[in-house]
Amino acid sequence: MAKNEAITQRKKKEKKDPVNIIAPLVVLAIIYVGLEIGLRVFDVPAYVMPTPTNILIGTIKSFDIILPDLLFTIKIICIGFCIAIPAGIVLAALFSQFDIIVKAMQPVVIWLVITPMITLIPLMTLWLGTDPNLRVIVVIIQATPIICLNTLNGFIHVEQEKLEFAKSIGASKFETFIHITFMNALPQVFTGIKLGCIFSTIGAVSADFVSRGMGLGDRIIKFLKYSNFEQSYGCIVLIALIGISLYTIVSAIEKRIVLWKK
């Protein structure tokens, strides 16, 4: 019916194109086969790079050892990430209310974003003690600034005319914020969160490297020590998978919320 024409059109657009799923799988298969053949033909030693099949076999064989570290790392990333998202957004909302703070804080936030947190971890271990769960803090410090920075960017770049419209209907500061400023920033909030996925993963693994004892980062080093190259590579792949999964989940949520952008 004509009535719902516009809606049906949008639904159609939303429907997944099978190419979008098949294409990456084909590429993955090509990389897998290419590496498998290449590594065998050129006789690359395992300590440089084991073949994908050997990585797979090695990882599955040692999976019972890897699993607790995998779960630990997922836990650290997820908790840290879940705190970093609201923290980044709330901080940005607070900053955006005051022009002076925006000007004063932006360099600080940028400075926080670009400082490699790994350099601070030894110090933080010193301050915080050695409880592995405290690695959450590293993740939070790593991911919050990037989320905050992107969100803030969206908050302060609102078209003047949109704010004038809010004034013309006498919207309160709060109404203006939720209907205009926040909605305007939403695409950028998601960009921040997606970058946050990557930063959280980096944060968690670098914390493992420094603090040791637990986590996938720690497991990589342990495997290497005993020349279990296949398993180390397996852990690297798992870390990448955690990051990719988070990213995919956030993208899926974004598509459901940010409906007005194609």
Binding site: K3, E5, E164, K167, I169, G170, W260, K262
Partner: protein, 267 residues
């Protein structure tokens, strides 16, 4: 005598920028009666938008007073009260729709902010959508509809809370000639049906003569009122009128005023 609906009493607006102060509107006075359709005509930069934005409480005045229904509405710094804003609907130069809301959500937003709830207002939204032919697009996003449709949505968004006054800042300036003529006729239709007071800003002389009952001609540097022209043309107005001698006479008269302004500017 009846209280004028809108009254400007020696209103001045000076913008202080970093290195200079710009007098956008100087010593502007006018009185508009209830139900009138008036046009404000002037070249670009003469302060038309500034004038109407002061009236709608978007920017404060520097000096002078603005009255609506005899009530002084402009306060330095302070926000214009909600019950005064409710009397007005503002139509922007660009459609100015919020891209993250659907057409329907956009149009309903003033109702939400003015706390107008209930079936009556829901019905109002439906009727307005129907009136401008946007019913089928109620759930579309602004990026999915045409420029003409967007501008129509802008018009009904300004009308949804049933204001007594419509303020229009070159509302159809961005549209093509054909759509614009059509929209102007629709506007006249709305006006004659609802009896709202309309302040219509334009830099198009023909448009001003075709639509309004009185034209305020503004000049630049500083932005000020230079002439008020009452138009004694029959209603309802039709597009075919633009070739009639009275119409042409008014047009030429206004052209002379605008021309004079331009000459003085060159000097």
């Amino acid at each position: 005598m009846k209280e004028p609906k809108i009254k400007f009493d020696h209103v001045t607006k000076i913008f202080e920028t970093r290195n200079q102060s710009i007098t956008a509107v100087k010593d502007y006075s006018m009185e508009i009666q209830e139900g009138e359709f008036v046009a404000i005509l002037g070249p670009s930069g003469c302060g038309k938008s500034t004038l109407i934005r002061m009236l709608d409480g978007i920017i404060p005045t520097t000096s002078g007073d603005i009255y609506i229904d005899g009530q002084k509405v402009n306060h330095e710094k302070k926000k214009m009260p909600q019950e005064v804003l409710r009397k007005m609907g503002f139509i922007f130069q660009q459609p100015n729709m919020l891209p993250w809301f659907t057409v329907r959500q956009n149009i309903s937003l003033p109702l939400q902010v003015f706390a107008l709830k209930g079936a009556k207002w829901e019905k109002q939204v439906d009727e307005l959508l129907e009136m401008v032919g946007l019913k089928e697009y109620a759930n579309a996003y602004p990026s999915e509809i045409s420029g003409g449709m967007l501008q129509r949505a802008g018009v009904i968004r300004a009308m949804v809370h049933d204001p007594e006054i419509l303020l229009m800042d070159e509302p159809f300036g961005a549209l093509d000639e054909l759509t614009r003529e059509q929209m102007n006729m629709e506007l006249l239709d709305i006006w004659s049906k609802t009896g709202k007071t309309i302040v219509f800003i334009t830099h198009n002389i023909e448009e001003a003569v075709l639509l309004s009952s009185r034209v305020y001609v503004m000049g630049t540097q500083p932005g000020r009122l230079v002439e008020t022209v009452d138009l004694n043309l029959p209603r309802p107005r039709q597009l075919s009128m633009i070739t009639q001698p009275e119409f042409i006479e008014y047009r030429q008269k206004l052209e002379r005023f605008i021309g004079k302004i331009d000459l003085s500017k060159i000097k």
